[in-house]
Amino acid sequence: MQEFLQLVVSGIATGGIFASLALALVLIYNAMGLVNFAQGEMAMVATFIAFTLISHGVNYWIAFPATLVIAFAGGIAIQRIVIRPVERAPLLTLVIITLGLTTLLNGLAGAIFGYVPRSFPSPFSVQTVDIFGAFASYRDLGVIAVSGVVLLAIYLLLQRTTVGLTMRAAAHHPEASRLLGVRVSWMLALGWGLASAVGAVSGIMVAPIILLEPNMMQTIIIYAFAAAVLGGIESPLGAVIGGLIVGVTVNLAGTYLPFVGGDLQLAVALAIIIGVLVLKPNGLLGRPSVRRV
């Protein structure tokens, strides 16, 4: 029983991390209309930049914001150089290009830093907190808290400010927005910069837990995607609930289902994705969407 409780609690903790990434996905892909397969790899590169700064003696609390600024600039640069030339191309083209970006970034990171996992400092202690006899670390909770704050800030920016409004307008209705004086190109670039910075935060928060290496974001993105699908891709609340469920399920399956074991936990995520899509395609909280011509 104790073991079960522990698994659930730590599942909720990791689930919280999945939830925050799923939230980021939902926000970035839906609210901002951003199509970026390389979201995870960009976050990984940003984290490596932070790592390089820190290992050259820069204080964590300076390296962190510096990395965010660099990530922001990098996101804008990528949008200007790689995405803008194909602004009017079909969705498929955009996805393929961001796929190319993923491969490129992963390869570069691997070549420059190698694939050996490294440890990454965290501002939170590894000490644990007692929750009904089970333990969760301050670090896990800290990650969830920081992600929550960042995502809340982004949400408020998008929904309550004029800048956020113009960004959303530019993303979903570029032509109509131009007729309203919105500088669509720059708003899209801004969106990319912002998404890149959010990704950098995720990467820096998560790296201490899963260890820094070029492939670190790949599996995590799949878990986050499973969480988003489960919750209903359009729903922020769904992403949170989905994340928690995925976290707990994966943990329990890993321990109690003998044929799953450690390395097939990802397959559980895949099974969730397929299962949801077949049985309840709109997820738990999603609304059936009407496609307008």
């Binding site: 397969f37 969705l91 491969t103 097939l264 397929i274």
Partner: protein
């Protein structure tokens, strides 16, 4: 009869030349190289399948490496455990993979391009682990080793009659692969010329309009998944034949990326594209690894980084550059160049400026 020959469009002659080229190729290269070309053809077949999915029906898949693995393992298991003749297992592997692909196509209907990419990516990432699990059946981490196939007497004699040397195992593999390649390309060409192809292209270009025209969206999209998985399965099976063994590590995520790069570079939504793409995808990493160190103008830092990074960086850059500058791949570039040339020669007005080209005699 002669009359019909004369009226065949030049394209058919080109196809004939290419086919003859590939039939004759092993006679002028050594056996090892024939094995390499066989692998390139294997990729071309898988890419043809991917092309049907991506180029013609507009659905992205990063999981075709997994379908290749499926085909390869089905064949390997049938041979290893049930002692079937390898050649017999090839179509079986293809059909089973095709069925699974078709089933996978059902949930895939719900996902837009980006999410479908993520889902199939997940499939590719998970595949090696899934294979290792039932170790009894699949040989686990070590995989299954296959005996090199012995060329049958008839083929070997025919080959000896032409070249004076006995046919090697690699060459036999090459010819089996070529035969399947020709069959599958011909099949694809027929499929895509007619109703199925038109329906798929209509779907790719505008789903809502296609549905409004009465096209069964779900049906054709899942069909496309099934067909493309069928091709990948056959390619996987042939891969096992060519490589001599199958193991989980033969089918990493990068294979799926490699297939996509080949499809894009060759030319999406074209028939010759996958062939060019397959050759490109197979030989590029090998050639660039040999070429880069010899280029003295590249600073050693960068050169060693590129070497260590392997094909990933090249693939990524190629994908990006191709989609920006030549979204229709090599076939598209050649086609556009050819059209422009013909236009100049025939005196067709330049579409952009509305001006007639210069009369060739007066300069």
């Amino acid at each position: 009869m002669v009359q019909r020959f004369r009226t065949l469009p030049p394209r058919y002659w080109l196809v004939l030349v290419v086919v003859l080229f590939f039939i004759g190729l092993p006679t002028v290269i050594d056996s090892f190289q024939a094995g390499e070309w066989a692998q390139a053809l294997v990729l071309a077949i898988a890419i043809m399948g991917l092309n049907i999915l991506v180029g013609y029906s507009g659905q992205l898949s990063l999981g075709h490496g997994a379908f290749m693995a499926l085909g390869a393992y089905i064949s390997a298991i049938l041979v290893h455990r049930y002692k079937l003749d390898y050649l017999l297992t090839i179509p079986i592997a293809g059909l089973l993979a095709g069925l699974i692909g078709f089933l996978f196509g059902v949930p895939a209907l719900r996902l837009s391009a980006l999410y479908l990419a993520l889902a199939t990516f997940a499939l590719a990432v998970v595949a090696p682990s899934l294979i290792k699990r039932p170790a009894e059946l699949t040989g686990g981490v070590q995989g299954i080793v296959l005996l090199p196939p012995v060329p049958p007497q008839g083929a070997s004699d025919a080959y000896a009659a032409v070249t004076g040397a006995a046919m090697t195992s690699d060459q036999w593999t090459y010819y089996v692969t070529l035969a399947w390649g020709l069959l599958l390309f011909w099949l694809a060409w027929n499929l895509l010329r007619h109703r199925t192809g038109r329906a798929m292209r209509a779907i790719r270009d505008g789903e809502v309009a296609a549905a409004a025209s009465g096209i069964n969206l779900a049906g054709y999209k899942t069909l496309a998944f099934g067909i493309s998985a069928f091709y990948a399965g056959i390619a996987g099976s042939l891969f096992g034949l060519a490589a001599g063994f199958v193991s989980p590590d033969s089918f990493p995520v990068s294979l799926s990326i490699q297939l996509l790069v080949g499809a894009v570079v060759g030319g999406l939504a074209s028939i010759p594209g996958p062939l060019i793409g397959g050759i490109f995808a197979y030989f590029l990493p090998i050639e660039s690894n040999q070429w880069v160190p010899t280029q003295t103008w590249i600073p050693t830092q960068i050169a060693s980084t590129i070497e260590k990074a392997g094909p990933a960086v090249t693939y990524g850059a190629v994908l990006i550059l191709t989609m920006i500058f030549a979204p229709n791949g090599i076939v598209g570039l050649v086609g556009a160049g050819y059209a422009r040339l013909r236009g100049r020669l025939r005196g067709v007005p330049d579409r952009e400026s509305g001006q007639m080209p210069q009369d060739p005699q007066t300069v």
